[in-house]
């Protein structure tokens, strides 16, 4: 009986199968080779003198000086710009002081640094810094002891840079094995994080026709797993470089020939697709992390003079963008449909309402914290409603801020550190201390191992910001 039925059902089922196969034939894609087809644009040969050549040049011209510093036996990491989670929030375990005495938090060490705004990265008891040595006319990648600020090693290579509001202004990115820095003239150097030994280098200008931004590069290298993400602009909007080798893994197209900005690309996950959000000179784009494909772009957000703050990934496909030069702020929403992405504007904010000129706002507990054009600290919700401001009596200029354990550390132009309770529904200052009395203390902060590293134009300071009990338990200054 069954076999009879099978025989009877055979024609119909074969017909269905055939229809499916014919559909597959007619509608099927481009086959295996489609993957190796890419738009043929200029510069894919990395012509005009590239990686290898620059690597050779930098390596040849470089000097590695081993100094007497010793890494601190301190846990805690701030491995790159905006910290481990790229959110500007420290992951401190030891309780932090909620108030300081009049003497302020203990200053562990102070060192002189070249003019600029380059912030520190911290890992394994080491502090990494890209500095500029004006006398030697050289970029200097410095590895300092977190304990006392003494150099462990210095790697320098000559780059002539003229004074223009300082020189170095980027934060290194570091893994246990490698440290990657981006110099003021867009030289990307990868060194052994422990020894400072040269690994590879890329001159973004020569290799990718990047244009050095006004006031030199402010973009910080982004290490995403095993690769370094850089946004050279020019021949490629973004490139992914294998961290260990310097091999270019992919490059994304740059149809609009956008140029490099001071912003750093920020990773975002959306519907299972990992992408990098980068505001270039001509708009904002989302680049697939896998292959560098341009997933979406919009010219709704562009700042003609300089884009400095990096995008804030606000969850749910939202990207918060802000900037100076009368740009204000904007919330983008990235919609994903059938694997295609598109950006739309959720809202824009007047610069007077809520914006940041230079520092990237911090998103904490669905609240955005930023210092506005008038120097007031402001807190807004994700719909762009300002919840509170610090008032005209409490201004911070263009200084940086970072967050840890609900405490917002805000620095003003001159180097005064203010501790603000981020969890309160209003501006509540917990403590304040004049750490430095310099100017242009705009370098991003780093908070790691109970320490806060901040700088002004020429000095870098490491503070112990743990509370007394923790300090006692874990040991004081070594």
């Amino acid at each position: 009986m069954q076999f009879t039925r099978i025989a009877k059902a055979l024609p119909a089922s074969l017909a269905a199968l055939g229809a499916a196969l014919i559909a597959f034939l007619l509608l099927g894609g481009e086959g295996a080779r489609a993957g190796s087809l890419a738009k043929r644009v200029a510069g894919t040969d990395m012509a005009g003198k590239t990686r290898e050549q620059v690597a050779v040049a930098i390596e040849k011209a470089s000097t590695l000086t081993v100094c007497d510093g010793v890494p601190a036996a301190v846990e805690g990491a701030w491995p790159c710009f905006r910290g481990a989670k790229l959110d500007g929030i420290g992951t401190e375990r030891a309780p932090l002081a909620r108030e300081w005495g009049p003497e302020g938090p203990p200053v562990l060490w102070t060192i002189d640094v070249g003019e600029g705004y380059a912030g520190a990265a911290v890992l394994n008891g080491r502090v990494y810094l890209i500095d500029y040595d004006r006398e030697a006319q050289a970029d200097v990648v410095r590895c300092l002891s977190l304990a006392d600020g003494r150099d462990i090693w210095r790697f320098s290579y000559p780059v002539p840079v003229k004074r223009n509001h300082g020189m170095s202004r980027t934060v290194p990115a570091v893994t246990p094995a490698y440290v990657v820095t981006l110099g003021p003239k867009c030289h990307v150097v990868c060194l052994n994080a422990e020894t400072g030994a040269f690994v590879w280098a890329i001159d973004l200008v020569r290799a990718w026709k990047a244009k050095v931004p006004q006031w030199y590069a402010g973009q910080c290298p982004l290490i995403d797993r095993d690769r370094v993400i850089l946004a050279p602009g020019g021949d490629a909007l973004l490139i992914a470089v294998e961290l260990a080798t310097g091999k270019v893994l992919w490059q994304s197209p740059n149809p609009g020939r956008w140029q490099m900005t001071h912003a750093t690309p920020m990773p975002m996950e959306l519907r299972g697709t990992r992408m990098y959000v980068y505001p270039g000179s001509g708009g904002v784009a989302g680049i697939a992390a896998e292959d560098g494909a341009l997933l979406w772009q919009t010219d709704a957000w562009k700042i003609s003079i300089a884009t400095v703050p990096s995008p804030v990934i606000a969850g749910g496909g939202r990207v918060f963008l802000t900037g100076g030069y009368n740009a204000g702020a904007m919330m983008l929403k990235i919609d994903a449909q059938d694997g295609a992405f598109a950006a739309r504007t959720l809202y824009t904010l007047d610069p007077k309402v809520f914006a940041s000129i230079q520092q990237t706002p911090i998103l904490y507990q669905e609240r955005l914290f930023a210092v506005k054009y008038d120097g007031q600290l402001a807190c807004a919700d994700l719909d762009g409603r300002v919840l509170w401001t610090s008032g005209s009596g409490n201004t911070f200029g263009l200084g940086p801020y970072a967050l840890a354990q609900g405490l917002l550390y805000v620095v003003n132009d001159k180097g005064r550190l203010t501790l603000v309770d981020a969890g309160a529904g209003e501006y509540r200052r917990l403590a304040e201390f004049e750490v430095l009395q310099g100017h242009d203390a705009w370098g991003p902060l780093a908070i790691a191992g109970g320490r806060l590293i901040m700088r002004d134009f020429t000095r870098m300071v490491c503070l112990d910001i743990r509370d007394r009990a923790a300090r006692a338990a874990q040991g004081g200054v070594q």
């Binding site: 080779r33 087809l37 890419a38 644009v41 040969d45 012509a47 003198k49 290898e52 050549q53 050779v56």
Partner: protein, 187 residues
């Protein structure tokens, strides 16, 4: 069998057997004679790069839909030039890798900067269709380091190669399987 039983004529059977033996001897011996003195023979098809005029027949006459012939590059002969006429149009707009400047119809030649003034050119065999355009360009202005070869893991090694039959310059030859390529190289 039935013959033997139904027509029992021994003489006829004997003659058939003799003829059969002669025939077997002829076939076997003849084949052996033809094979014996000439081994090891020339077994596989290859293109003599010195004779090849890169006409493009290789790309179309192969019995395979995608030809077994592809371009290869003898790096040791290459000038590593910036202005590579195997890579660029005869009159490129600019010496960049953009589509408007480059020659290869499928984008199979990959150019990579090595150091001033050298560029390295490699063939993505996945994309190469063996049209020979770059071969012509390289031969005309360059060292002739790009040239067409039969890729043996594609070639079916037909008795009569359709491309060989269509080759205008008698560049198709049989070569020993042990040395299946006619490489252009520095010795």
């Amino acid at each position: 069998m039935s013959d033997h039983e139904t027509t029992p004529i021994p003489r006829r059977g004997f003659m058939r057997a003799a003829a059969r033996a002669a025939c077997a001897l002829g076939i076997g011996g003849g084949a052996a004679y033809l094979v014996a003195p000439r081994t090891p023979g020339e077994r596989v098809w290859q293109i003599d790069p010195e004779k090849c005029i890169a006409c493009g027949n290789c790309a179309t006459y192969c019995v395979l839909r995608e030809s077994a012939v592809k371009c290869v590059h003898s790096f040791a002969m290459c000038g590593y030039c910036e202005l590579c006429t195997g890579f660029f149009n005869p009159s490129p707009n600019d010496l960049t890798t953009a589509a408007e400047n480059v020659l290869c119809p499928t984008g199979a030649i990959v150019r990579r900067f090595v150091e001033d003034p050298y560029f390295e050119y490699t063939i993505d065999q996945n994309l190469c269709i063996g049209c020979g355009k770059c071969v012509k360009g390289c031969k005309m202005f360059g060292n002739g380091s790009l040239y067409l070869q039969v890729i043996h893991d594609r070639c079916l090694n037909c008795n009569q190669c359709s491309i060989a039959a269509a080759c205008p310059s008698e560049a198709w030859v049989r070569v020993p399987a042990a040395r299946p390529h006619l490489w252009k190289k520095v010795t």
